[in-house]
């Protein structure tokens, strides 16, 4: 089932994407963001909120107010640890409840601070490696899944309904459950606290909600004998923090895209680049898989003409993730076709595009995303399109299919919608299991021509971006005609250059190696 494209051309694309990613990396290497800092505090165990405001936020506000943000959170945490005999958790509480101002604690020598932070970091790393090992063990104790994994969403707004529906979905055959977030959460510069029951178009991502869902999914994993993967969104102004919470609570996959927030949430690009880098570093370190969001790129532009931007973004997402230390098998690139069903040959084009992605990123657990934009209220025709989508996914050997729902044009899924979607996908997983082996593309047909055309456009787009840099490319609207400026968008105020006191021993490879060893 291979398309006859040149591997040199693919290599060239990859090389250009690496250059693009590398340039970004260089520019942000001496910077951090308040989200990254809060994520560090969370990794060290600072969990809690007062009057709805998380302690980690108050902590950051304190050092921001005193204009010492550039030292970073861990410097001031370390100093407070040296200056008081409070635990991290106690510090959080004192700060959160307004009784302690960390910047007003007695200044201690840098090396003491470093030592105390190294110790708590070591402890944190060890604890997390242990948690992840336990999870791996639990997963490996259950039978291996039939491929592809079937991914469905829950989005009731109420974590209890989400859980009830997630468990039902798992019993129906789902392998992966994603809780969709409430509409505006990505714009919040804090992570809400506690168990929540009111969201819009989704449910708030909170540590408590993660924990409840994880317990429920582990329970149903045991019941069904299939490991049920938990997913949430690692995006928005709290991207890095969410990564930390997901790691602590045992999630398996994170929707995490380098460009999505910039383009579709109007988040600041520098902020987002820093956040995505550190998130990916953490997720990679602790063996989570990310899935990117290239489907969004063709939701508002001509999906046939501009499909190359999907491939372009995949190359860039891949290299940015690799810069953050991730392996290819951890980088689930997003794919979608979103073709107008009235386009002649639309099924063939979808097949070709799917095969192209599979072939160019052979180790990526591509996340194959269903049609949405041309789905109307006709639930029957939606089911037709979703069935064909499932067929293409299975035929081209994708690893994760996000199932389309018959009611995509109406509401977030009802409990039976997932059943109907799973039924279609499971049927095809069996009925079309050998298609990939049994069929070949014609040598020089229009399939080949289409694939080549996309690759050519991608190559020239990457080459242009390589010349002007990613920032300028975003500025010129090269991604789906959306123009963003370097300092524009939400969250720029949370970006800062780091001072010589700045600390982040989670990046210390020696420490990490030691922690990993101890945790074994």
């Amino acid at each position: 089932m291979k398309l006859a494209i040149s591997s040199e051309q693919v290599q060239h694309c990859r090389a250009m994407a690496l250059a693009i990613a590398h340039e970004v990396q260089m520019e942000i290497s001496r910077m951090s963001t308040i989200s990254v800092e809060r994520s560090l505090l969370r990794l060290l165990g600072m969990e809690g909120a007062t009057a709805g405001i998380p302690w980690v936020n108050v902590f950051l506000e304190q050092i921001q107010e005193h204009n010492v943000l550039e030292d970073g959170a861990l410097y001031w945490l370390g100093n407070t640890l040296c200056a008081t005999d409070l635990s991290i958790s106690q510090i959080g509480q004192e700060v959160g409840e307004g009784r302690l101002d960390v910047v007003k604690t007695v200044r201690h020598p840098l090396k003491d601070i470093q030592a105390s932070i190294a110790a708590v970091t070591m402890e944190s790393l060890r604890r997390i490696f242990l948690l992840r090992a336990q999870r791996r063990q639990f997963r490996n104790g259950l039978p291996i899944h039939v491929s592809p994994l079937l991914y469905v969403i829950v989005a009731s707004g109420n974590i209890h309904d989400d859980i009830a529906q997630a468990k039902a979905a798992a019993e129906q055959g789902a392998d992966v459950i994603a809780v969709i977030r409430s509409t505006a959460q990505s714009l919040l510069d804090f992570v809400p606290e506690g168990v929540t029951t009111e969201g819009f178009g989704g449910t708030y991502a909170t540590q408590a909600n993660y924990r409840l869902m994880r317990a429920a999914l582990d329970e149903v994993s045991r019941k069904t004998g299939r490991y049920i993967h938990q997913v949430n969104y690692c995006s928005g102004l709290c991207m890095a923090e969410i990564a930390a919470l997901a790691i602590l609570e045992g999630l398996d996959l994170m929707v995490n895209d380098a460009l999505y927030g910039i383009l579709f949430r109007d988040l600041n690009m520098v902020r987002t680049m820093i956040d995505q880098h550190f998130s990916r570093y953490l997720l990679g370190l602790f063996d989570l898989i990310i899935v990117t969001g290239e489907d969004n790129l063709i939701k508002t532009v001509d999906a046939f003409q501009e499909y190359y931007i999907v491939l372009t973004s995949q190359f860039i997402n891949e290299q940015l993730a690799k810069q953050a230390g991730m392996e290819e098998k951890q980088i689930g690139l997003g794919h979608a076709a979103e073709l107008d069903p009235s386009l002649p040959d639309s099924f063939l084009w979808e097949l070709v595009q799917a095969q192209l992605v599979r072939q160019i990123f052979p180790h990526s657990p591509v996340k194959f995303m269903p049609p949405t934009r041309y789905i109307s209220g006709n639930i029957f025709f939606a089911h037709v399109l979703d069935t064909l989508f499932n067929l293409v996914a299975i035929w081209t050997g994708q690893e994760i299919i996000l199932l389309g729902m018959p009611t995509e044009g109406i509401h977030t899924p009802y409990v039976q919608d997932r059943y109907l979607s799973l039924e279609s996908a499971m049927h095809l997983r069996s009925a079309a299991c050998s298609l990939r082996k049994e069929l070949n593309f014609r040598q020089n047909g229009k399939s080949k021509a289409r694939a080549q055309g996309i690759l050519d456009q991608t190559e020239s787009t990457l080459s242009e971006i390589e010349q002007i840099g990613l920032w300028t490319a975003l500025n010129r609207g090269m991604f789906s005609q959306i123009k963003r400026s370097r300092k524009g968008g939400r969250g720029y105020e949370g970006v800062f250059p780091i001072s010589q006191f700045y600390l982040n021993p989670f990046l210390d490879q020696e420490l990490v190696k030691r922690a990993r060893k101890i945790a074994r």
Partner: protein, 247 residues
């Protein structure tokens, strides 16, 4: 022959009243749950019930598909659709009327309000490339468009209305979970009332789950649903301007 006074659903025979329904119950599948499902259908007044599919959904849920017949009939002649009365004009007629009769440039502020990030519908009406084969309002010479884009707080919409001295506000709302669209729209209307701006403004909303009924409910002048084209919106605006001028 169908009688206009007594229209009934048609499956395979005139007046057979055939209806398909489906739903889930939060109980596991059993003989009892099937009977409960039939009773749900019975409470809808359906007769000749045929429970043709029942499926356990796991975790104490179950799903049902039922066919039945309703004896209710609808009197078509008693249904009057208000919007049909507004004369539809095209691009040329609208601009002509504005340029020569009303002698007015219409200032429009448009936004997808609140946490809602769905801009495609609003852009379909406003942006030059338009929708359904028509150009958007940006292409109308007598219209001046300020498209604020997505996720705009109501307060900012208000500020912009004041600043641009807008004649028309076009608000898109797509996300409806927990009735968030109604809350958002009502809130803006309240703000405008508070500033005593409501009177002079033509206040229009739109989105896939919006119609005139919903719009009037939240104090708007009109609401436009799926398939709306730019000229339909422009026609409404011009007619409303004419009506207000006459009043």
């Amino acid at each position: 022959m169908t009688s206009i006074e007594e229209v009934r659903p048609y499956g395979d025979r005139l007046n057979d009243g055939a209806i398909q329904i489906s739903f889930s119950l939060p109980i596991p599948l059993s003989a009892q749950s099937k009977e409960a499902a039939k009773q749900v259908a019975g409470k809808l007044g359906l007769e000749h019930l045929r429970l043709i599919y029942a499926q356990d959904l796991g975790n104490s849920f179950s799903f049902y598909i039922i066919y039945g017949r309703t004896s209710g009939s609808i009197n078509l002649s008693s249904i009057h659709i208000p919007t049909v009365d507004i004369p539809q004009m095209d691009f040329w007629q609208i601009n002509d009327l504005l340029a020569h009769e009303l002698k007015k440039t219409v200032t429009v502020v448009g936004a997808t309000m609140g946490a809602d990030a769905h801009t495609v519908g609003l852009d379909a009406i406003l942006s030059a490339k338009g929708f359904g084969g028509e150009s958007g309002l940006e292409r109308y010479p007598q219209f001046k468009i300020y498209n604020l884009g997505a996720q705009v707080p109501a307060e900012e919409v208000l500020r912009e209305i004041i600043e641009q001295k807008a004649d028309v506000a076009l608000i898109s709302q797509v996300v409806t979970q927990r009735q968030s669209h109604l809350q958002n729209l009502s809130y803006l209307e309240d703000l405008l009332e508070g500033e005593e701006l409501r009177q002079d403004l033509i206040l229009i909303c739109g989105g896939p789950y919006i119609d005139t009924e919903v719009a009037l409910e939240v104090g708007f002048d009109a609401g436009f649903g799926p398939g709306t084209t730019p000229s339909q919106v422009a026609s409404f605006v011009v007619n409303e301007l004419l009506r207000r001028r006459r009043a």
